[in-house]
Symmetry: C2
Subunit: 342 residues, 2 copies
């Protein structure tokens, strides 16, 4: 809506529009007085360049999109925050696109979305980051993308954290507290992170020289409701596990809910822990002990990688091979302690 264009400025300043273009782009080889004159007119008229015209001329992109169908709203919210942050810093717009993972026309739908918006960079959130057909389509159309939390390097750039490590350390923590019968709630079978978590559980048991409690491994889907359901199964086992480890906090909160609703006290009767550390984790009672995943930082870094790539600039971030595998941290709160008085 800014009515004043580069032509107006040029006319007003008595120079060509190209010269104005030079000034606003800080190009070399403009005489000081010309620059000053143009700047004065720009100030006076309040000229702002039109991003559309610029993008069209430079054949450059203006936007990236965040594609998601994630079962944990709290996760998405934190991720979005980080992405948004780098977008602001680099003057990029962020498009949001909600899609349905199960929808049969998903790939075509996303293809349509790309055509309509000209977002030529995508950030893919699990479970989309594991979806082969989608990646194939994007590669074929040469659409740049960065995946979240799917460290399968062969499939393209990815930013995430080490799920296995997180699950491993969390399991070790519970074992150290002297829990032996630990119930595990897996994530969605389609997401690689779920398998990596499972590997982490098993690794910790193996290292401790204990037999892994196969019977206490329950399928979940990373949603609150699946946490409730999985807990219902686990809490009916005899003997009841003394702790439950869920593969994300969203499910852990479901476990908490399930325990409460059958009159169990947490952590007195049962310990509950999760992974992620989302906002929800400190709003429930008791606060959840969890492995903190630097979700916002992951979002930020993903946006960084994508935008740098789109701009043809090198990735100047940390150069270690693990730069895109951020570290997690055990956050001890109130939902877990030694088993005892039950």
């Amino acid at each position: 809506m800014s009515a004043v264009t580069i032509n107006d400025v040029a006319r007003e300043a008595g120079v060509s529009k190209k010269t104005v273009s030079r000034v606003i782009n800080n190009e070399a080889n403009v005489s000081v007085e010309t620059r000053d004159k143009v700047m004065a007119v720009i100030q006076a008229t309040g000229f702002k360049r039109n991003p559309l015209g610029m993008a069209l001329a430079k054949n450059r992109s203006l936007f990236i999109a965040l594609l998601a169908d994630n079962p944990s709203p709290g996760y998405l919210q934190k991720l979005q925050k980080g992405v948004l942050q780098y977008c602001s810093e680099s003057n990029m717009g962020l498009f949001l696109y909600d899609c349905s993972y199960r929808s049969p026309g998903l790939v075509a739908e996303i293809e349509g979305f790309i055509d309509n918006t000209l977002a030529d960079g995508l950030i893919l959130v699990p479970p989309l980051s594991d979806k082969k057909e989608l990646l194939d389509m994007l590669n074929r159309r040469k659409v740049a993308y960065v995946r979240i939390g799917a460290p399968d390097a062969a499939l393209g750039d990815s930013v995430g954290f080490d799920n296995q490590q997180a699950a491993y350390e969390l399991t070790r923590y519970l074992l150290r507290l002297k829990h032996k019968d630990i119930g595990f709630v897996l994530g969605h079978p389609d997401q690689g992170s779920s398998q990596r978590c499972e590997a982490g559980f098993r690794q910790a048991y193996a290292e401790a020289g204990l037999e892994f409690p196969e019977k206490l491994l329950v399928q979940g889907y990373y949603t609150f409701q699946s946490g409730v359901d999985a807990a219902a199964v686990l809490l009916n086992k005899k003997p009841r596990p003394t702790a439950i480890l869920a593969s994300n906090d969203e499910m852990a909160v479901g476990v908490l809910y399930s325990a409460h609703s059958r009159g169990l006290k947490v952590p007195d009767d049962i310990s509950v822990v999760g992974i992620d550390d989302i906002a929800l984790s400190t709003k429930v009672w008791p606060n959840l002990t969890t492995m903190r995943q630097p979700i916002t930082a992951i979002g930020y870094r993903a946006a960084y990688k994508l935008i740098r790539k789109l701009q043809g600039l090198p990735d100047e971030g940390p150069t270690s091979p693990d730069a895109d595998l951020l570290t997690c941290e055990l956050i001890v709160r109130d939902s877990a302690r030694e088993p005892g008085r039950n």
Copy 2:
């Protein structure tokens, strides 16, 4: 990145680009055979029109933005969902912009955002919808906007629900349950909704012929933490209130947390109710009794109004004067019951 342009199609089909333009825009006065020929080429080449070129030529907008600094993430998430939904339906992009309500440079910052993105329509979420300087700037620059939840018609379009009605009915519900000492947690003093809620509380007491418990009215700020703090004050009163009504669910969850952490049972020892019905409300234990606000529908309608306005089309929604004041609904769950065994 779609390499094939309207020129390619025109050359291939042996017509002018204008004719191609006519075909893709379904304009009248194109002979059937020309249309077929062009369509065939479009199919064969996979041509998609470039939104940037189109937007530039038509001087039309491509995006709207959702500006928010809302203390309740769950609220925002639901709202965003509704907005996004209408955006998809109408092929508009949605920009997200997080801002800080308190920031002194807020207005200038938003002005910069508008210039940079060319989003010429804005959806304003409380507390931004009440911010006079911001509205002034937008009016001056002739930027279209729709406000959420701030039904002060003089300031422009708004979509929301009747806070006073919600608070009134909720209070009546508690009074009907025979609560007399009800603690009230107000919202943010800068947001009009907070005052409207208060009016609703008072109205219910007045109609019941009861004296309003001024001492049990505590300031909150719509955040979880402010709910925790307000509950701490209320729960130390002697006699302790038998119920607490928070002006939104985010705070009600804080109240719940506060009650639990001092060993109180909900609803046996104290009833807790809120307003909104966000996702969080059914993830805490016990589930929150609340007034459901159709947040997603509000977001959808706000996007509808804004986009129709931008397109110069009339608002064809419901025509009643209250069309933009959606109704709320009492959702009875498990966090409130008659006062009794304490």
